[in-house]
């Protein structure tokens, strides 16, 4: 059996990053990914046929194929059961993979090369320094060079302004907030979103370049499909939205040291006991998701990057040593959702146009950060997703009608809001969520699938998280009214809405400060699960990627 230097499990936010870094250091890396690969010639019909087994060269990437598959239709791409970006096998005639969630909410995660970054909106803020310093086992200063490297590689830029950002900045200023021109946030204020999206092409305003031509050129076209999947760019490695399948994966392939195998679900971490190292990881058992065949693969080091639910699930299903913190301490930024509806005549003087057009421009182009409380971000989505967000609420239906509705929309009111879709601005609340060992992932004692016992996911906010979320809601309401909203819909989202899962394999508890597990040598973790906490509220992925970059160095120095 050929032995790899490193096996990486998962090619999402963290896995693709550590694979590229290790490949550049000259190590032979095999990435095992449970889902399909979109935009690789070896998988012409990735949802219909098994295709090839592996790909390891940059030349296999095919942007035309990618554009054909990532077609921007929201049901086709985003449906949680059968969409291309779902948590499930490549074959879409089969069901999604089951998770037991015994509360209101939804788990939004994607399998496939690129993982959940295929669907993410590419926001790349750093953690709040106060959430790291004297809290994490490592300092914020130590993270900065790694942040810089990732920001440069993705690359990260500040979002350009379109109507919805302009409206948000206008409201935030009127509400008394100031611009905070920084990456290291220590005081509250608003700022353009730092995100992994290429700046618009210089021809964006040139009427002689047709928009379709522009979509084949380098740069964001402001098409607003970030969540539906961005297919715009001249080649796979220059797609505007920098999901890891178009940023780190092409760079990994360019090292000629990285092989990626999609449709390979890791069932088990294999260990042995070494006389000097003790219990250590030596490989994995995988299951081909098309054929069902199982195989054992070996490596000198194994990296789990399967995400905050599957990494602890895999640990437990592999029978690795009991550690009371495995799966515990799940945070999800205890989110909420508010939408302002605006009148044409109010918008005209602010925007010079009668519509906000939430579907135009970056999905999340502007934010307000508040260390100690969390963050607010503007969000503009396509209509089906927008409407579905009005269907979730902890408070059921609101049978009252006033200038503020709290709860789920229905009937005429839903219709009225959706008729005004083009004049809405939505704000996502993302709370500085507290780690509570009651929350997290356990194995279902009764239910298992072809990959072992299924995970049970449970989350309840703490009192403090609840208080913080309501403070943030008040700020969002104020900004929307100050911007001129005539009506606000406050969804009061259920606590179990999981979009930013973190901290289920915490640093200092399950892994050390270099992200190697305490209990099993040569087993590292490079996904959101190693975060010590919720970063203070900022979106998690950049921090995962900075840590994965650092972990690559630590791992290399220790074992190679």
């Amino acid at each position: 059996m050929a032995k790899e230097d490193v096996i990486v499990i998962g090619s999402g936010g963290g896995g693709a990053v550590i694979a590229k870094e290790l490949g550049e250091m000259g190590l032979k890396v095999l990435v095992l990914e449970a889902g399909p690969w979109y935009g690789n010639k070896k998988w012409q019909n990735p949802n219909l046929q098994p295709g090839a087994k592996i790909s390891s060269t940059f030349d296999d990437l095919d942007v035309s194929l990618y554009k054909q598959l990532v077609n921007k239709y929201e049901q086709n791409m985003n449906d949680l059961v059968s969409g291309r970006f779902r948590w499930g096998p490549a074959d879409r005639s089969r069901s999604q993979w089951f998770r037991n969630i015994k509360q209101k909410g939804m788990i939004w995660q994607s399998s496939g090369v690129g993982g959940t970054t295929q669907v993410y909106t590419a926001n790349c803020p750093r953690a709040f320094p106060m959430a790291v310093d004297h809290v994490w086992p490592l300092s914020y200063l130590e993270l900065i060079p790694y942040y810089e490297k990732v920001e440069d590689t993705l690359p990260v830029n500040f979002a350009p302004t379109t109507a919805k950002e302009e409206l948000f900045y206008y409201g935030a200023k009127k509400a008394g907030w100031h611009l905070i021109p920084t990456l290291d946030v220590t005081v509250p204020g608003f700022r353009p979103q730092p995100n992994a999206i290429l700046p618009p092409n210089n021809n964006i305003l040139n009427p002689h370049v047709r928009l379709e031509e522009l979509s084949w050129m380098e740069g964001c076209t402001l098409a607003g499909h970030c969540v539906n999947g961005c297919p715009h760019g001249p080649s796979m490695d220059k797609i505007a939205k920098r999901s890891t399948n178009v940023s780190y994966v092409p760079l990994a392939l360019k090292t000629s040291n990285v092989t990626i195998r999609p449709n390979a679900f890791v069932l088990k971490i294999v260990t042995d006991i070494d006389s000097s190292e003790g219990l250590r990881a030596i490989g994995v058992v995988i299951r081909d998701t098309w054929t069902g065949e199982k195989e054992e693969l070996q490596a000198k080091v194994v990296v789990m990057a399967a995400g905050s639910i599957e990494s602890p699930r895999l640990w437990m299903n592999s029978g690795l040593p009991h550690n009371p913190w495995v799966g515990k301490g799940l945070v999800n930024h205890y989110m909420d959702w508010l939408t302002g509806i605006f009148a044409e005549k109010e918008l005209m003087p602010i925007l010079g146009s009668s519509d906000v057009n939430p579907f135009v421009g970056h999905t999340c182009g502007a934010r307000l950060d508040y260390p100690g409380l969390g963050t607010l971000q503007t969000v503009g989505m396509s209509p089906g997703l927008t409407a579905s967000f009005f269907g979730m609420s902890e408070s059921g239906y609101d049978f009252l009608t006033s200038s503020m509705t709290k709860g789920r929309l229905y009937g005429d009111e839903l219709k009225e809001v959706m008729t005004n879709y083009r004049r809405t601005l939505s704000v996502l609340v993302s709370t500085d969520d507290e780690v509570d060992p009651q929350n997290g992932i356990t194995l279902d004692p009764l239910i298992s699938d072809e990959h072992g016992s299924v995970p049970v996911v449970a989350y309840k906010p703490t009192k403090r998280s609840k208080r913080k979320r309501s403070e943030l809601v008040k700020i969002a309401v104020d900004i929307l009214y100050k911007a001129g909203a005539k009506k606000i819909i406050w969804s009061n989202w259920p606590a179990g809405n999981m979009i930013h899962m973190e901290s289920t394999m915490r640093m200092g508890f399950v892994v050390d400060e270099n992200c190697e597990s305490y209990d099993v040598k040569r087993l590292y973790i490079a996904d959101n699960s190693v975060h010590y906490n919720s970063l203070g509220g900022p979106n998690p992925t950049l921090t995962t990627q900075a840590l994965a970059t650092r972990t690559a160095e630590k791992l290399f120095n220790k074992y190679f």
Binding site: S82, R92, K104, E151, L205, R210, T221, G224, G384, D412
Partner: protein, 188 residues
């Protein structure tokens, strides 16, 4: 009310049934005792139990319409606001959880979750392109083809997938790249 009629016109219920019946793989359905009846059927039964309780306890405000939906049970015979009441009853768990069909029996979290899911699916089915798959909408996803412009998108004046928009209004700030503004471009 208009919403309900239009949701019926767009056959959104077919979407919900399709999704419920394709959301869980057969081996798991067997473990959940969900093969007979299917997930959509047992969900319909759940709504019917709540509707029946509402009717029996005299909490229904509007007359029943048993012909509203062919083959429909008590829930389908309720007018819209009474249906919302039935859902609210389930959401507040104000009924005997012992008497519910599997997998809802004694499963309060799933019941509450499903009330959100049904609302979400209705809205997503209505306002996404699903209906526009027309005669192919109930086929497996790879066989679906868009046959016309989605009615939900016309309703909200969404122009559909775009190559881009020219609404560029400049930048509030430039990003302080440590290795120079153009490093990414130089390297690739």
């Amino acid at each position: 009310m208009a919403q309900v009629d239009e949701a019926l016109d767009l056959s959104v219920y077919e979407y919900i049934i399709w999704i419920l019946d394709h959301s869980i793989s057969i081996p798991i359905e067997m473990q959940l005792q969900l093969v007979h009846p299917t997930f959509s059927k047992s969900t319909a039964q759940l709504l019917d139990v709540a509707a029946a309780q509402l009717i029996q306890t005299g909490q229904v405000k509007y007359p029943l319409n048993v012909c509203a939906f062919s083959g429909g049970g008590p829930f389908a015979s309720l007018m819209e606001s009474d249906r919302l009441k039935a859902i609210t009853l389930l959401e507040r768990l104000e009924l005997n959880l012992e008497n519910l069909p599997s997998p809802y029996q004694n499963n309060p979290g799933l019941i509450q979750n499903m009330m959100d899911v049904l609302n979400q699916l209705t809205m997503f089915g209505h306002y996404s392109e699903w209906n526009a798959y027309g005669s192919t909408r109930l086929l497996p996803p790879e066989s679906r083809r868009i046959e016309y412009f989605p009615p939900g998108w016309i309703e909200v004046q969404y122009p559909g997938p775009a190559f881009g928009y020219r609404d560029f209004r400049g930048y509030l700030m430039a990003f302080p790249h440590k290795r120079g503004e153009d490093s990414w471009r130089k390297r690739t």
